[in-house]
Amino acid sequence: MRSDEKKNLPSSFKAAVTEPRRTWSRFKYPQSVIRYCVYLVIFVFIVYSLEYLNVPVGRFFTMFGRLGDMVTKKYYPPEIPYVLQKDYLRYVLETVQMAYLGALFGILFSLPVSWFASFNVTPSRRFAYPVARFIIMASRSVHEMIWTIIFVIVIGFGMFPGVIALTMFSIGFAGKLFSEEIEAIKIGQVEAIRSTGANPFQVFIYAVLPQVRVALAGISIYTWDSAFRAATVLGYFGAGGMGWYLKESVERLETLRVSAILLTIVCLVVVSEVASAWARNRISKMK
């Protein structure tokens, strides 16, 4: 009955009295179209890049069988005695030390850098801010393995280039998180200290640092954890530590040893992660 009425009405009028839609939809007209366009673009880009990279998609499904075969035939059982020998354990200890030192130096350097790179408390917005931002961005965007390669070329093999590479990595990693933390502080204390005639350094020490101290401790532990994760494979490119053993075994195709080394890496990283999660929990409770 109602539809009959509608048919007789002029078309301009019909549009004005459209009844509410019966089916509910989360996104209204223009939004929904934009949404589908985005989906379409993403889908087309996926297909195009699969074509461009010549990815054998079919191999994805046969891969699991091959992986299983490989693991059971070649990599099992892991050669546990190999990773229990004294030299290897010494290298593990050295990896821990390398990560510890790299993270420590990185955190120490990233304190001033993040101070300069936080827009609200930086000593000079025109000069120090962009420079510090660039330092953080550059050390963050170059992967730690590339840093390792560069420093191995410049300095030579050994743990020293590894420590420097991890320092660069930690400057980027901790610097970004620190400066985000500093940019979120309350400005009241900063102004109070500033109004007493303090210079920027005193402002940083007495107004900024006490506010972010706890967060900085948590971030530092997280940085150490990430640095350790990176340190386990730094040796693959010539810096010291257990990565060196990994490279040796991979290149000699001693797969049983490779699996044993991978096992130790996973175990150590899991242990360090659990420890760092526990420590961060304790610290955030102190707040």
Partner: protein
């Protein structure tokens, strides 16, 4: 009189406690410093070949080898850059797909079986995050051969852990009321998840996926070092030819592509959240 003595006692106690914590703190500092010194002694002083490094001049000479950047390389850089970008993109997409079951298993309140599937989900998250991308790449290169494909797989395996961990945590403190409403109108377990949980966590999930994509570009740049494609392959080639100036060019390209990725991810995250 008695009161004041009590007060004095308590003040003494507080002072004593303070002194004790102070001593413990200074002991901790001392241990930390000793640890640092010990590590420095072993890793830097003993292990380094100071003869080979020589003075500051040699180091500067070593650094000078990287400059000026080799500009003739630029025209060979376009294709690997696009490849890197695509590896990161496809890896993130694959990670999004693979993270869904991990999230489902690893979130405590929606996991199908708390005794069996919950530990599996958690273990998958930890394993994926704890193994470095180079190691994943080594594994996949030996499983599927050279090319971009192992790079995609390695990048995605590495980012599953982070995406699913954050998403599972946000599922665990999801708002209970929509879920109860859907249960009240007779929704089954699947419908509860689909209409009660997913709309609440989808911004977190997508936001994290975009963030991971940004990081994955960085990871994709080194995949070539172990035989998966992208800019890393060009870098490796320059290294093998001792063309250190070319290395600088590749690093500049990496900086550019990562800046681009950061800008895109900033705006994409703004649009989603």
């Amino acid at each position: 009189m008695a009161q004041s003595s009590v007060k004095k006692n308590s003040i003494d106690l507080i002072l004593q406690h303070r002194r004790r914590t102070k001593t413990i703190r200074y002991c901790l500092y001392a241990i930390l410093i000793l640890l640092v010194l010990w590590s420095i002694e072993i890793t830097i002083i003993k292990d380094t070949d100071w003869e080979r490094i020589g003075g500051l001049g040699t180091i500067l000479k070593g650094i000078a080898r990287f400059f000026p950047p080799d500009l003739s390389l630029i025209r060979y850089l376009f294709k690997p850059t696009v490849e890197t970008f695509m590896i990161a993109f496809l890896g993130t997409m694959l990670a999004i797909v693979l993270a869904i079951p991990v999230v489902w298993f690893g979130a405590h309140n929606i996991t199908p079986n708390r005794a069996l599937t919950y530990p599996i989900g958690r273990a998958a998250m930890t394993l994926s995050r704890s193994v470095h991308e180079i190691v994943w790449a080594l594994i996949f290169v030996s499983a599927v051969g050279l090319g971009a494909f192992p790079g995609i797989l390695a990048v995605s395996m590495r980012s599953i852990g982070f995406i699913s961990k954050v998403t599972a945590e946000s599922i665990e403190d999801v708002d209970r009321r929509p879920i109860e409403a859907i249960k009240a109108v007779g929704g089954n377990r699947f419908q509860v998840i689909l209409f009660g949980v997913i709309p609440q966590v989808i911004p977190v999930f997508i936001g994290n996926a975009i963030f991971q994509w940004d990081i994955n570009i960085r990871r994709a740049t080194i995949m070539g070092l172990v035989g998966a494609g992208g800019l890393g392959l060009t870098l490796e080639r320059q290294l093998l030819m001792y063309n250190h100036q070319g290395v600088t060019t590749v690093i500049i390209a990496i900086l550019l592509i990562i800046t681009l990725g950061e800008v895109i991810s900033y705006y994409a995250r703004k649009a989603v959240i």
